[in-house]
Symmetry: C2
Subunit: 153 residues, 2 copies
Amino acid sequence: MKLISAGETAANTNNIPVEAGEDLARIGEMAKKYGVTLRTLRFYEDKGLLNPQRDGSTRLYTRRDKARLKLILLGRKVGFSLRDVKQMMDLYDPTGSNTKQLRLALDKSEKQLARLQKQRALIDDAINELSGSMSAVRQMLIERTTAPASAAS
Amino acid sequence: MKLISAGETAANTNNIPVEAGEDLARIGEMAKKYGVTLRTLRFYEDKGLLNPQRDGSTRLYTRRDKARLKLILLGRKVGFSLRDVKQMMDLYDPTGSNTKQLRLALDKSEKQLARLQKQRALIDDAINELSGSMSAVRQMLIERTTAPASAAS
DNA sequence: TATAGAATTGACGTAAACGTAAAAGGCGCA
DNA sequence: TGCGCCTTTTACGTTTACGTCAATTCTATA
């Protein structure tokens, strides 16, 4: 049983059970669609962040998996580790209010926000420090090219 | 008690402090003075960034080593890799104008500055994105606590 | 002299997020 | 039927800057 969904392969020659509208994607399509590598998708699965169905050994990603991947990528973008992302995702319960999940997410987010702000401060520091050094170096270069010889450090 | 200083000449075969003001420091003092660990100092040496003298097997750091360490730490602070720092330092020639060294430093600095600015932009992005998510989550939490039951996604 | 405090050289461990083969199975198509 | 493409699993490699023992030696001091 092979399931090819997607784009345009109108063929669909022989079989395909295809639960109406269930747009399943294989790993290659997923990778292309979300700009990640195959390795990355397998890695996420290995870490328990994704859990695609299987058709034999072939991974089939549902729209649920896509939603999860989007969340993962958002998490990465804002600097969460995969562990953090997993912790938050693991709390998701489709039958509940997910209050705990949301609280955890908020808690982690506050801490991450603080980290980001600290990082920004560090970077600003570095930028200033570097700019200063560059001015000094430029000045030294000018001296080297206008004055003839030595001048110690 | 053996303190051998003096860069080169004098044989200094036996002992005796020599060179009055040469304030040599051992690794422990260096570490304390500059807020790094022993491991770090040995690591820098291993990478060719420092080259303290030896009294037997004991490392002795001169003020030249101290100057170099300061530069290393400055480099690290502005985000240079140790490799970069080494490249720049390796061009230092106490007898020349060091124009090449300065040019390399300036060149690397410009690139590093660009990287830092890009990083800051990314962080700002992340901060915004995260702040937005947090608002959404807070809103969801409010709904969870005021409304009774379900609401998907 | 006994003991604590430095110092030495290995050398493996860590963290994150994949990269990069390697070897093999399956499928459609010309 | 052979080719090419997609996919699979396994597993070591990469990067950076050290951390963390371990075993040993040297030195200073009480």
